[in-house]
Amino acid sequence: MTDVPDRDVLLEMQRRMIRIRRFDERASKMVKRGQIPGTVHTSIGQEAQVVGATMALGTQDYMTGNHRSHGHPIGKGAPLGPLMAELVGKGTGVCKGKGGSLHLADFAVGSLGESGIVGSSIPIATGAGLSAKVLGNGRVALAFFGDGAANQGCLYEAMNIAGVWKLPVIFLCENNQYALSTPAHTVTSGVIADRAAGFGMPGVRVENGQDVLAVYDAVSTAVARARADEGPTLVEVVTYRFNEHSEGLRLGVDYRNADEKAEWVAKDPIELFKAELVRRGVATEQELDQLAADVLAEVDEAVRFTDESPYPDPSVAFEDLYTDQPQQPALAGAHQ
């Protein structure tokens, strides 16, 4: 067990979990109202798993993620305004409106990008670990991926090379038990965490992924190991998403039964941690309610920032492809 974090860290965990919850609740509403185009996947229900992992990292550490993408940068400490503006497609978005919900990235907090292709960002995090190792800058890299991505081949190429090169990488499997509609146990042979053994690295399974401290503890151990140049760790966190795979998705089949859902919704990570903080005497219920109210105001402010932001100029579509030249819109379209 790592040491129990001090009061500020504990309260920051709760703050970031609530930030994710309120941000995603608002995003969900905005999807329903037609204010957010495209597709949105919320992290509601998985906040402990996200924050336990991201709080175990430093701001300088690297992280990549996946399509369930808002929680990771929020957990890493990214400001909410540019994230919300990105979801709407505004020019002030963290990616200038070119990424959207599926592709949030905030390099200022080490968020190297969320990938819409399942598993595809795992090699990127591995490479961030390689640069940390070659440059000797003491940073570590964490790759978030789901139980679905646990069956992508690139994970095992990455675990092998990280193992053989002893890279400072944490492979963090967010096992929310369903790849869209497909139950993990029907497509996954054995236990994901056990697969680490084949690569000579520790494999840790956090059974109660709704407990932010349990996740924090496991990931902190992995981070310490990585910083000590002892190599990578695979951490599997068992959790559950409370919402549908994506907002607005209506499937004809009820692939998750009501009892199971109710059982997990009762294990709300934010409520559980609130009770724990009160029990430990870290904060009073009233103080924690105030913290939640403050976060709600932050989300309101992010939405106000988004509303007041302009859409990007159409010319922005031709920027950022290369560093040293405009892509050739003139050649592409000017000679009809």
Binding site: C95, G113, P123, I124, E157
Partner: protein, 359 residues
């Protein structure tokens, strides 16, 4: 100046780049053992100068497992976080193993994240066509990657270009794929042993001429030059232009070279459909149609897979004979055109240019 082979020039550029900048590392299969001859001393002289492993150490010479997807993705992630990797993917056909990383990560991350990422990484690979290695090793896949915005595509055809373009590629903050033609590996010429860069996006005129223009790509370039020299014996003056990089493409250079003579032949060892020659031809048709005196002609590899047997493979690629034939055919158009006033008529089969094997 020093005489260098194409392969030796690549090795020299890699050594220079490694010495110039500690952020440059080399990642790839068999790079420790210098199997392909570009991670040794000058050329393959390991014993004299020591190899890269001795010079730069294991931290910067990264011998990899056979795992193209993570090699490419990890190089991209390393490039996004402060390194400038050169990746040796050996055979160009192996790039397909990492197609997701190339297309979804390497090419898109800068754009998708609104310019937050820069991606200074070079991916080298060799096209083993014409060497009887069969369908799995003979691909010339650069056109596929030309269709992926965000990548820069380089196809050097000479030792001096191989060296200068590689240095420019390492300097680039964008991902660069370099496609090296193995049939050129042994080509030798005088190369500046000092550091120099050949800018990406600037083509080179190898022959100046007035009757027809050949725009040639990669391994077709020396063949185009040989064709031009043979045609000169017949009194046909041919301009030969090598774009050298396919993205960015020297559009102005290509169009000026083609417009100068009004007859364009494009020689490209890739498969015909959606090849570099397709793009070059389309650009000419779009921009200088009025200055063309006849149809654009393409000399490419036909849309078939590459067979193993020398009896089958050799005929497939553009060579000096087929390129020269295409030039003659384009001039033959003059007999029916309005500018045939000088009276020269050239039958397609009137001159026998002996096919000479590529060096």
């Amino acid at each position: 100046m020093t005489v260098m082979s194409y392969l030796g020039a690549i090795g020299a550029a890699q050594r220079e780049a490694m010495q110039a900048d500690e952020r440059v590392i080399i990642i790839g299969e068999d790079v420790e053992a210098n199997v392909y001859g570009t991670t040794g001393g000058s050329g393959k002289s390991r014993a004299q100068q020591g190899d890269f492993l001795q010079m730069f150490g294991k931290n910067r010479i990264r011998n990899t497992p056979i795992s193209e997807e993570v090699i490419v993705g990890a190089a991209a992630g390393a490039a996004m976080t402060g390194l400038r990797p050169i990746v040796d993917l050996s055979y160009s056909s192996f790039l397909y193993m990492a197609m997701d990383q190339f297309v979804n990560q390497v090419a898109k991350n800068r754009y998708m994240f609104g310019g937050q990422a820069s991606m200074p990484v070079v991916f080298r690979s060799a096209m083993f066509y014409g060497l009887n290695t069969g369908a799995h090793h003979s691909d010339r896949p650069y056109p596929m990657f030309m269709n992926v915005p965000g990548l820069k595509i380089v196809a050097p055809s000479s030792p001096s270009d191989a060296k200068g373009l590689l240095r420019a590629a390492v300097d680039s903050d964008d991902p660069v794929l370099i496609f090296e033609a193995c049939i050129l590996w042994g080509t030798k010429e005088d190369v500046d042993e000092n550091e120099y860069r050949t800018p990406l996006g600037v083509g080179r005129t190898l022959r100046t001429g007035t009757d027809a223009t050949i725009v040639a790509v990669s391994g077709a370039v020396p063949e185009a030059v040989a064709a031009a020299d043979a045609l000169a014996q017949e009194g046909i003056s041919v301009e030969v232009f090598d774009p050298r990089t396919l993205v960015p493409l020297d559009v102005d250079g290509i169009l000026q070279a083609a417009a100068k003579t009004g007859r364009l032949v494009v020689a490209d060892p890739a498969h015909r459909t959606c090849s570099a020659s397709s793009e070059i031809s389309a650009l000419a048709a779009e921009h200088i149609f009025d200055q063309l005196k006849g149809p654009i002609r393409r000399v490419t590899t036909p849309d078939t897979q590459i067979p193993f047997s020398p009896a089958l493979e050799k005929q497939l690629y553009p060579n000096r004979s087929t390129i020269a034939d295409a030039v003659r055919a384009s001039l033959g158009e003059r007999r029916h055109g309005t500018d045939g006033a000088n009276g020269r008529t050239i039958a397609d089969d009137s001159i026998d240019v002996k096919e000479v094997p590529a060096s």
